[in-house]
């Protein structure tokens, strides 16, 4: 669908400005949606089509409701794809559309140039649609609840991927069969016959016997566990005794997880970068006098701070601005670091003018963890009034516990590492020589939520089909949780 003329004019204008600033992006296609459609797309995490699952429906219910009550409004959404797709909310006023477009071009530049996105599938739009078709076919064949409950199981472990591999590994899993082959291998071959002869040529009881045999063979064919792997999903795909269709579904969910992973890894940078550029483009070029108030209103909403959580738009924007400023003034390197005079440091300006170049380099090579680790300085931390909060059981509330730079940085890095999820590995797949799966949680000071862990273990067991263990630490003591297919048990190490 083409944009209406007025928006197309705005788009061309904004795109022109973005190119002037040397942003580099794939062709970007804007679509206008009403809020229902936007909520739909948002529920599908940006895509127009996903495999059928109730979780998207739940998200839709949530979004629709909070939109109806005026609790939130989605302004913009953009998909990492070539071409990039971005959505505009129909009822937004022209200034909002301008900001959104400028913001979107920032994201598109980031998608194309950031190293962590370099391995993502740029034809994901098509791939998602293929996944949807595939799952729909399985549903037709194996029944809705069967497929749905297997997807539930898969989604329970879809974050168990190796997101920190320097290059995202593409699965080298065995070629799985196509749907056609699955069909062939499941149906008993009939001999062609005339209607009235059918009963004699293909006797029903014989056919049934054959069908049962095929079922049995299929069960026998299940693979046996081989070697452990850090990428638990891949490990299960390759080694768990799954049906072919189940293997396919697990594989496609894993693929989607890998596709979304870099977005989680670069949330602060990505939003910071896009916000940096929308404010640059708007304030230096695009905003008209009459639009200034609306622009300021919108922008301040985007970068508003909340005490309870980091606003990635704000933090990212400020960090990029800080880096630009420091490299413009030469506030880095040995001399600067070793300078002891606060006054001198404050007024430090070597007029290097390297800022712009530096931030482009940063957006190319970093992810959130290295971004914060490398560039967050003590001065920045104070200026931005960052603090650490902890739960205080006496007050039954979260309270500010510390403003110390090191603690803040450490806490922030911790919450970014592995996207704030625990590290889980497969340690052994033939535990006690009984084909039982042994998982290991690398404990880093924070316990797991036990009820959820048990339920997750149950789901892994469902895939693995033999008993499954998880080694973790609970309140300072080593513990092994076990689920054997019928009941949970645990043992202290």
């Amino acid at each position: 669908m083409n944009l209406p003329a007025d928006l197309e004019r705005i788009r061309q204008e904004i795109e022109g400005f973005a190119r002037e600033y040397e942003l580099d992006f794939y062709e970007t296609i804007f679509e206008i949606l009403d809020f229902k459609q936007l909520n739909e797309v948002a529920s599908f995490m940006g895509f127009p089509n996903r495999f059928p699952h109730w979780r998207f429906g739940m998200e839709y219910e949530r979004l629709s409701k909070s939109y109806a009550y005026g609790l939130h409004k989605i302004y913009e959404m953009v998909i990492n794809n070539d071409p990039c797709y971005a959505y505009l909310l129909q009822c937004n006023n022209p200034v909002d559309q301008k900001i959104v477009m400028a913001h979107v071009y920032g994201h598109c530049d980031f998608f194309k140039n950031n190293f962590w996105f370099s391995k993502t599938n740029r034809k994901m739009m098509d791939e998602m649609a293929n996944h949807a078709t595939k799952v729909r076919k399985y549903i037709d064949k194996f029944g809705y609840s069967e497929v749905e409950s297997f997807i539930d199981t898969c989604l329970s472990i879809d974050d168990l991927i190796d997101r920190h591999a320097p290059f995202i590994k593409r699965s080298n899993r065995k070629e799985t069969c196509s749907l056609k082959e699955i069909e062939d291998e499941q149906a008993v071959k009939k001999i062609r016959s005339k209607d009235y002869m059918e009963e004699y040529i293909n006797p029903p009881d014989f056919m049934e016997l054959q069908q049962r045999k095929i079922e049995e063979d299929r069960l026998k064919k299940r693979a046996f566990p081989e070697e452990p792997d850090k990428d638990i999903l891949l490990f299960l795909i390759e080694n768990a005794p799954l049906e072919n269709w189940q293997r396919e579904i697990l594989a496609l969910i894993r693929e989607e997880s890998y596709y979304f992973a870099p977005q989680g890894q670069t949330k602060i940078m990505n939003e910071g970068w896009a916000t940096y550029w929308h404010s640059k483009i708007m304030t230096e070029r695009a905003v008209r006098d009459s639009e200034l108030i609306d622009y300021a209103d919108h922008h301040s909403g985007t970068v508003a701070i909340q005490s309870s959580r980091i606003n990635p738009y704000k933090l990212g924007l400020e960090l990029f601005k800080d880096i630009e400023d420091r490299w413009n003034k030469g506030k880095f390197g040995k001399d600067y670091d070793e300078c002891n005079s606060i006054e001198e440091k404050k007024n430090w300006d070597k007029k290097l003018g390297l800022g712009r170049e530096k931030i482009f380099e940063v957006r190319r090579v970093h992810n959130d963890v290295t971004f914060v680790d490398t560039f967050m300085t003590e001065e920045f931390c104070q200026e931005q009034k960052l603090f650490v909060y902890k739960y205080n059981p006496d007050q039954e509330a979260y309270v500010i516990s510390n403003r110390d730079f090191k603690t803040v940085k450490q806490q922030l890095l911790f919450s970014l590492t592995n996207f704030g999820q625990p590290f889980i590995f497969v340690r052994e797949s033939n535990y006690e020589n009984r084909g039982e799966l042994y998982l290991y949680h690398r404990h880093e000071g924070i316990d797991l939520r036990l009820d959820y862990s048990q339920e997750t273990l149950k789901n892994i067991q469902r895939i693995w089909s033999r008993p499954v263990y998880l080694e973790t630490v609970v309140e300072g003591r080593g513990k092994i949780l076990k689920y054997d297919g019928e009941k949970h048990s645990e043992r202290t190490l």
Binding site: P48, P52, W54, Y60, Q306, Y389, Y452
Partner: protein, 367 residues
Amino acid sequence: MALKIEQDHNRFRQIIRGKIKSDLKKYISHEELIGRKGKDLISIPIPQIDIPTFRFAPKSQGGVGQGDGETGTPIALDDDEGGGEAGNVPGEHLLEVDITLEELAQILGEELELPRIEPKGHKKIQTDKDRYTAVHRTGPESLRHFKRTYKEALKRQITSGAYNVKNPLILPIREDKRYLSWKTKPVPECNALIVHMMDVSGSMGDEQKEIVRIETFWIDTWLRSQYKGLVTRYIVHDATAKEVNEEMFYHLRESGGTMISSAYNLFNKIIDEEYDLEQWNVYGFHFSDGDNWSGGDTDKCVALLQKELLHKVNLFCYGQVESTYGSGEFIRELEDELAFADNLITSRIENKDDIYNSIKEFLGKGK
């Protein structure tokens, strides 16, 4: 345009429905649900359906925030979730689901296996109903049908050659104008009167009243789904009976003796004076702790039921709520004396958990 999400959304609603159904017993005995009733919708809190993953225990993890404040200052979390990082980890909150009362009644019906009610055989009775579905050439301007008028004008202008493609101006004249109008349609009438009667004598405490309140809510919900026009009236009694409004019905606390017959008399009088039995399906629900003033009055009640009320009503239900003071004789008398009556149902309600079964007993006959 149909959205693709509809399928997933419907599936989600279906799951929710299943959750409500499987926990219906719990919801039925919770009074708070009644407070969440709007005009047509009821908001039900259900635990978020979540897909389990390996994640950190809540509250064990601090976070990084931004803003002013001394050490020790409590901060407001915008989410129940304590993660606090830039994450999009779903929080653990209760999900408020809105469902229509009709749907709730449906769930109730399915779960309790309530049969649909067959109204008394008055299908002949019809009322006329006006619906604005017709289009006329005359009418008030406020009801002008824009689209039809436009079409007529367009047709006229094209046939008369007054239509100019370059300047497609359409000017309706009087003959073009079309107006919405009503059509009268006969609709089969199917009305129901519910009369709730409650003993408010000294022995009925708050707990007993709460049970009554919950049970009547569910009974109303069900009957409302079965009849288009539903009228609910309330009678309270101690030694004398009077009609009150809904608010009063639940909050009035009298003391003194109990004469159940007074309520039955009033009920009978209301039916006789105000309701044409040819047109109305009448339901009587009476709740008491079973402690009547005297055996003589109980005999009166039995006689009244036998001679008058049971011939007039679709169903008469008596629920005896357990109370520390009540003697609880009344229910036995009714059961002994009127065992033959198939439209009299009695039920003992000892506590909130019995409400579920009691509703089933009352409405399970499909009357």
